[in-house]
């Protein structure tokens, strides 16, 4: 009986070894000989491994630079650049760079954005198949803190707008640069404002004026149109938090403070300066399109203004083209209204940053490509390609005279804005912290609980989440 079992086991092992041998890749015999014969060689191999993880050596000969880019540019690569001006930027990024660097082949891939991108990226990095360069907006500092990003050494930042790389800056080191960006301004539908009997040439400049006008428009609209489009808690989109942060910054408040230990962002949901901001938002929600604040589809929230359902909203730079495409011929733009004693401030949004992974096989080529994205001739093509705004001072100055007044206003914000910030990247458990903030907003807009009480409750929950 035991003998039979032994034979059975032997048969299985023999077959398993045969299959595994057939499936395995051949091992270079020379390497084994070197390692087993010579102890010094073994040591050398270890040193090479170390270098590979921290700073990969520049490979000799032709290299393939794998870039995970954002979807619009990746899609435009399939278009003919000579026939479509929109495609020129994408082709410049790939073909223009390759022309200058004949030994580098650029492989520009689309792996989604936001959650999809992050999931693909984590999978790729765990499997050791990560690209050389990654794109993103809201996780560079987190990845840098984990030791996954390579700092951009000796890169010239004098021409870059600081707010655009703030999201990739940790403890004095910059881990990525934005290739294009946008900021928030204030948008209004003059048809709606005129229908309510107000003068569209005089947009609100203060929060009080905005609330007053929104109330008037609501009354005049009688359910057909409303004063404001406010995106509240939805759970799916960060769009709401982006815009609320602008109001917080204007009042000198914030939702985060630097974590002394890591340099990442620590939740600060009970900043006393934020109380009037949330009280203002609570009042503003009452003047907004009913139900719209809780709509998970961000596109649906902001297109209502173009469709004549609301008068005012906060808008990214891409809204200018979007409004035209949606048929709003009378949409205009101005500075975001300020609180009493407030300061102008904005947040970078749709800020497409590229950085180099520490596991990059071609870090020198990758750095070259990131520097290339900052050149004036490349940045000059951004606006035509996707309606977004360049990230360098010289490119913005060059673009300004050729664009419409609305886009000029956005460019001016970037060129002259003193307080342009990026969204926080939490010290730990970002999903749980954002969930806390989202729940706080739900209570803010659906209950009458005092704001201070809600903020303290949110702060306690956030501190628990980052423990």
């Amino acid at each position: 009986m035991n003998r039979n079992r032994l034979f059975n086991l032997l048969a299985v092992l023999v077959m398993a070894s045969l299959i595994l041998t057939a499936c395995s890749t051949p091992t270079p015999v020379e390497k084994i000989v070197e390692v087993t014969k010579n102890v010094e060689v073994t040591k050398e191999v270890e040193v090479i491994k170390e270098v590979k993880v921290t700073e990969a050596p520049a490979p000799k000969g032709p290299v393939t630079l794998v870039i995970w880019g954002e979807g619009i540019t990746a899609g435009q690569l399939a278009l003919d650049a000579s026939a479509d001006a929109k495609a020129q930027y994408a082709h410049m990024l790939v073909e223009g760079f390759q022309k200058e660097n004949p030994d580098i082949t650029v492989q520009f891939e689309n792996h989604g954005w936001d959650e999809e991108l992050r999931q693909n990226l984590v999978n790729a990095m765990l499997a050791g198949t990560g690209p050389d360069i990654i794109v993103g907006e809201g996780f560079f500092k987190n990845f840098a803190a984990l030791g996954a990003m390579m700092p951009l050494q000796d890169i010239d930042l004098s021409n870059a707008i600081p707010g655009t790389y703030q999201g990739a800056e940790l403890n004095g080191k910059v881990y990525g640069l934005a290739s294009f960006t946008s900021v928030f301004g204030f948008e209004r539908n003059c048809d709606v404002i005129a229908a309510a009997g107000l003068d569209c040439a005089k947009p609100p400049t203060t929060w009080d004026e905005l609330l007053g006008q929104a109330e008037q428009i609501n009354k005049a609209g009688a359910g057909n149109y409303y004063g404001y489009s406010l995106q509240g808690p939805a759970g799916f989109s960060m769009g709401s938090a982006f815009r609320l942060k602008v109001y917080l910054l204007q009042a000198g408040a914030d939702m985060s403070k630097p974590d002394a230990e890591t340099g990442l962002d620590y939740p600060y949901f009970n900043d006393p300066k934020a109380i009037p901001v949330y009280e203002f938002l609570r009042k503003l929600e009452k003047q907004s399109v009913p139900g719209l604040a809780f709509e998970p589809d961000e596109g649906k929230v902001y297109s209502q203004l173009f469709l004549g359902k609301s008068a005012y909203q906060m808008a990214g730079g891409w809204h200018v083209q979007w409004a035209k495409d949606t048929g709003c011929t009378n949409c205009q733009y101005s500075a975001i209204p300020l609180p009493p004693g407030g300061q102008a401030a904005t947040v970078v949004v749709a800020n497409v940053i590229y950085g180099i992974l520490k596991t990059s096989k071609n870090p020198e080529a990758a750095l070259k490509w990131i520097e290339y994205t900052q050149r004036d001739e490349v940045q000059a093509l951004v606006f035509a390609a996707n309606g977004r705004i360049p990230t360098t001072r010289t490119a913005l100055e060059a673009l300004r005279p050729s664009v419409d007044p609305a886009t000029q206003a956005y460019i001016d914000l970037l060129l002259t804005g003193k307080n342009i910030q990026a969204m926080p990247q939490w010290v730990k458990n970002p999903q749980k912290v954002w969930q806390v903030y989202n729940d706080f907003l739900i209570k803010l807009f659906t209950t009458d609980t005092p704001v201070k009480e809600l903020m303290d409750e949110a702060q306690a929950a956030a501190e628990e989440a980052v423990k």
């Binding site: 059975n8 959650e115 984990l146 759970g235 799916f236 009913p290 719209l292 709509e295 999903q431 969930q435």
Partner: protein
Amino acid sequence: MNSSLSIQPSGSLSLWERWQRYLRQHRDQTLAWTILTPILIYYFFFSIVPVLTNLVISFTDWNGFNAFHFVGLKNYFRFFEDKYYRQVFSNTAYFAVVSMVIGLPLGVIVALMLNQQIRARGIYRTLWYIPTVTSGAIISQMVIVFMAPYGGVFNLIVTGLGFKAVIWQTDVNALRNIILGYTVWKGVGSTIVLYLAALQGIPRELYEAAMVDGAGRFQRFWYITVPMLTNMTTFVFVTGIIGGFQIFEPIQLISRGGPFNSTNVVLNQIYNDAFKNLDFGIATSSATILALFLLFASMISMRAMRQGEAA
């Protein structure tokens, strides 16, 4: 003639001859192992190895990038001590049990109705089964359209009837009921098919004999149909609970676990911890706890089923 073979002492045979003789004597076993080996290897690498890796990671504070630091049972304690995870587990249990409590009787009732000789029975059966074979992503999208706070179908009906629009996304009870509705509606098709098969397996003679004895419709149902469906009920219950605890799609696509963590479930939080929070320690320990719980629940149910059969 054959005796020369049989009396040949095995010690005088070469290893190859002994191997050949073994293969002849154990032809069936050899064939079985030959067929099974590839799938066993596949199973080993794609099931056993991941499960063991998961188990190892659950004892570490791995974030995907750092080296493994073993932290003992810390992650397991966290799961039970942290009220966030306790809420997640109780939400999961709630969805699993309540969807079963609603779905199982509903499945029986519909199966009994569809077992009648009615016109267009095939169409009704198909209609009930369509949600089961429809992609969860598509159904979720449909639910989102229905419950949209602005311009959603539910709110158009509510406001059309003269009531105030409801913000379903922020209403804990409403959203939990919507998730339950989704789960029951999508899962009841399988329950119906299983019960239909069981109903058709009940011998007609039993009913005829009961009718001869003067049993009414309810008595036939209670004393014949119900007992004959016991095994199927246990099977549906066990598989339903296992499936219910693995609820993920509607949470990920409809509610994201909110509001106030009230619809968050274990699988969704495993995904969040792994891919958003980069906390693989708690993600893998949650997965292990869920697996052990389901194993335990299945064992109890199977034992109950066996006892039922014996009785």
